[in-house]
């Protein structure tokens, strides 16, 4: 089988195998990471602010 033929059959195979569905998820997985790390949670509950983190660190919690 020539190189081009094998590339085509691989492409056809992958298309038929149905690897397409999670592409939309992947964008979310990779795109969300930096924002998630920096955005503080809103709400009125317990918040791990910098101050709180420092306190927990000092108590080796």
């Amino acid at each position: 089988m020539s190189k081009e033929n094998s590339a085509t059959s691989r492409r056809e195979f992958l298309k038929l195998a149905g690897v397409a569905a999670p592409a939309a998820v992947a964008v979310a997985v990779t795109g969300a990471t930096p924002a998630e790390a920096s955005a503080p949670k809103s709400g009125s509950g317990y918040r791990r602010t910098e101050h709180v983190e420092k306190y927990l660190k000092s108590t080796r919690f």
Partner: protein, 203 residues
């Protein structure tokens, strides 16, 4: 997604971008308990009548009926546990029966050669399944420089993933504690078989 990566992706064939998407999804679900937004994304997935399509559909169905906290509890029982979780998702463990054995050393040498390093805030060994999926996605899309040619992807897969990941995903699918992670396991198992066949066709 970084704009540099978007530019590099223009050079990567569509089906390979989709493969990377698959690896990214598995990495995102296995690295840590997924947050609600990721679970919701997964819940919206659709699949066709293929084996992969069926696995993805059942994953979406279970994602729709679960919550962030119950997935987190399941994750902890599966991978963290008291002492250890039900499963030990590391190449070294699956290939030798012990953690931090030669497969990890080989992977570290390979990573150094390719200029890949573990993130500074991560302390798990690099040969866990999530990291390996992340590295495959990165190699395919060129996140570590330029997109890796198929032959290099095949070598990386054969050396670090192919021999054991299928077994791990099968174990995950059948694990006692698996509910949400059962179809994650099925999806991974089917995908590993597709990858193996894809690399064989490209040879």
């Amino acid at each position: 997604m970084a704009s540099g990566e978007a530019a590099a992706q223009a050079l990567v064939a569509e089906e390979d971008v989709l493969r990377a998407g698959m690896y990214d999804m598995l990495a995102g679900l296995l690295a840590r308990p997924p947050r609600r937004d990721l679970i919701e994304r997964v819940a919206g997935l659709e699949g066709d009548g293929s084996e992969m399509g069926r696995a993805v559909r059942s994953l979406a169905r279970i994602a729709r009926g679960t919550s962030e906290s119950s997935v987190e509890r399941e994750f902890n029982r599966l991978f963290i546990g008291l002492g250890r979780g039900e499963l030990v998702p590391y190449a070294s463990y699956y290939m030798t029966g012990f953690l931090n054995e030669k497969p990890l050393a080989l992977l570290r040498a390979d990573m150094a050669r390719r200029g890949i390093a573990r993130a500074a805030n991560v302390f798990e060994p690099e040969d866990n399944i999530a990291s390996l999926c992340e590295m495959m996605a990165g190699l395919i899309l060129g996140r570590f420089g330029v997109p890796e040619p198929l032959s290099g992807q095949r070598d990386f897969f054969a050396q670090h993933i192919g021999a054991w990941a299928g077994h791990f995903f099968t174990d995950l699918e059948g694990a006692k504690e698996s509910v949400f992670y059962a179809p994650v396991g099925a999806t991974g198992r089917v995908f590993m078989a597709i990858e193996r066949e894809g690399f064989r066709l490209a040879a």
